[in-house]
Symmetry: C2
Subunit: 401 residues, 2 copies
């Protein structure tokens, strides 16, 4: 087998970020992913964050949609009609995995809930993804990435010391949840392969955010301690933050005493190599002094100079890059992090690759992000619908107006 998920079919009712990203990864691994979209515009991510003019200039869906929807086919179905539901049921019957991110109870209202579908298709793996999870006092509250950055306490520790809360600039709770879905589905597939049993899988923005906050919750539960915003610094060690340079910012991390000794010697042995700073717990205690002393040195150097001095002695160091420098960095390319494929007009387009690599069965890109309903006819034909049936479904509103 060339791909891990050869002959595995995923029917994906999810929209926006976490679900689509997860099924894209399953698609990278070789699954046949069918994206079910509402005929009224489809996945709203197609238009997210761009003006109408920008969309026209792009000649296709939004950058976010493209980042999350390669390696899948799109079919439009109106799930509020009986005809649309009927097609959805037939697709699920042909599937190994179902993913959705409707609010709790919605799939059941469509007649597509887990209990009914598992009876129809033994061994089915059925993944719900929700904001706060399927039960509990907040289960019916909608949310997005930002809401869970706030709810989880992440925002309370992000931003300037004493300042307003800030968000992690990217939708990290959503994209982390994607790998929660992927992990859950792969675990369930492994279990099915060994036992024949399918099962329900679920995760949520809340479980994703809590996982990202786990060591803070653990400390709070053990000691009652709650950390606060610290700019780029953190409570674990010193130095472990960004320092200003002549031309930007560079982060310097020297948590162990050995690494700190090398760091001090390379930057300024006289100012930094003093006994008061030698022990990690003392550096934590004297945080302000240590940071001020390092800053005095870095302010006189460029990013490149700090990087050179410290990487030469194996101290962890990294320049605060902008998005372009990061995306185009030779290291990212070197490890196979960039997937390439011709776009609609033949020009090569780049995509961020699968976030892990399987050397024997590498992920790859075989399909560009689909147009809305691009594969409706093809998928219906594969599902065994004849022309007359399709006409009847159409009359029944299965594909919208």
């Amino acid at each position: 087998m060339k791909h891990v998920l050869e002959n595995i079919r995923v029917v994906d009712f999810s929209r926006v970020f976490a679900g689509p990203d997860a099924t894209q990864i399953l698609g990278d691994l070789g699954a046949d992913v069918i994206k079910v979209e509402d005929p009224e515009g489809g996945d709203e991510c197609r238009y997210l964050g761009v003006t109408r003019d920008q969309l026209t200039a792009l000649g296709g869906p939004s950058p976010s949609f493209r980042a999350l929807n390669r390696n899948k086919r799109s079919i439009t179905l109106d799930l509020s009609t009986d005809a649309g539901k009927q097609v959805a049921v037939r697709l699920i019957e042909s599937a190994d995995v179902v993913v959705n991110n409707f609010r709790p109870g919605t799939m059941e209202r469509f007649g597509l809930g887990y209990e009914a579908m598992a009876k129809l298709k033994p061994g089915l793996i059925y993944c719900d993804f929700q904001s706060y999870g399927p039960v509990g006092p907040l289960s019916h509250i909608g949310a997005n990435d930002l809401a869970l950055q706030a709810f989880s306490g992440l925002m309370s520790i992000t931003g300037e010391e004493g300042g307003a809360p800030a968000r992690a600039g990217s939708a990290i709770v959503d994209l982390h949840a994607s790998l929660g879905i992927v992990s859950g589905v792969l675990a369930a597939l492994f279990h099915r392969e060994r036992t024949g049993e399918g099962q329900r899988v679920d995760t949520s923005l809340m479980l994703s955010a809590a996982h990202l906050m786990s060591y803070f919750y653990q400390e709070y539960w053990l000691t009652g301690r709650m950390h606060r915003r610290m700019g780029t610094a953190n409570h674990l060690s010193v130095p472990n933050q960004a320092f200003p340079t002549r031309d930007g910012y560079t982060v310097i991390i020297a948590p162990s005493d050995e690494m700190w000794a090398r760091c001090a010697a390379a930057l300024d042995p006289e100012k930094l190599g003093i006994p008061e700073y030698r022990i990690a717990s003392d550096r934590l205690r004297l945080r302000k002094d240590v940071v001020a002393a390092i800053t005095e040195v870095t302010m006189k150097l460029t990013n490149a100079e700090v990087h050179e001095k410290l990487s030469a002695v194996k101290v962890n160091v990294a320049v605060v890059q902008d998005i372009g420098s990061a995306a185009d960095h030779a290291q990212f390319e070197a490890v196979g992090g960039v997937f390439r494929r011709p776009g609609s007009s033949g020009e090569e387009q780049r995509y961020v690759g699968t976030p892990f690599r399987l050397h024997g069965t590498p992920g790859e890109i075989t399909r560009s992000p689909p147009a809305l309903g691009e594969h409706t006819a093809e998928i219906l034909a594969e599902a065994g619908y004849g022309e007359a049936e399709i006409a009847a479904l159409k009359a029944g509103g299965a594909f919208g107006e």
Copy 2:
């Protein structure tokens, strides 16, 4: 089978965050995880972020270590000795999965590299985790979570508008990478179950961070646009950020025009329900005005009042909580997000659970985080070493001094 990973053994040479968190999740799913630690203090995470006094008061390892190391057994091995290496080889021979986060080439120097181990144990799944990956110009540079927040561009979009870069307050790149490892290992296990073939898996802080930044890279590649810091706001929609209230901050998210209409009507129809703000692309264009108008309203209300008004009309809303309110929230408990187990003195301890749920084969906690080398004797006996052999290994320095 009660657990997905019953009869799967993981030998884990990794330290600090991503690797240990990943093998903890594999342990939650039922794997037998053997944590190999250096006799000289073991995983440095045992002491991370706490002073000696705090460690003494805790009567055990650091909160971070406890958050990442349940469901595993600890053996101490000095891999710089032949005797230590010999035991490591025997453990790998008994394993299905190996995880390590040494710098590239280190496992090979120990005689524990992939090629050699795969010959010894056909079907072995071998996961490398590194900072920037196994090849490329930066492959030998050390890094941590913060370095990749800087390198990836995440820090360039985190923090106040026009201000200094900030970090996402938690080690999100590390903990996200954990699920990259879990996904890669589960995919490889599934493949082995279908084909008998093992393989090498790898991921890195760099691939983890790039995945979290994927839609920003995509936009940059397509349009050249690079976003910048925006406090709690983002470029995708308005309103989608934190607003100050009488007693804190609450995030309000209304990306669609329908949700915005409900939001405006619930908060202040006169000020907010105006035609100029009705369309998403106009709200993006008039961002400053819209934000100022909403702020004027929220400043007069409490967090609870904003939450009540907006959740009643199904607008996404969440209070910016501190760590304690988040960790202790009833919703987190309701969805099974909290695992419990008696600590060493019998009192119940809480842990953040697995970040996804398998309803047929739920994850659970069966072992508290181990003391350093707690299971050395037990693991050696299981591996078939007799008393005389163990004495010889000890004399050879396998377990340190």
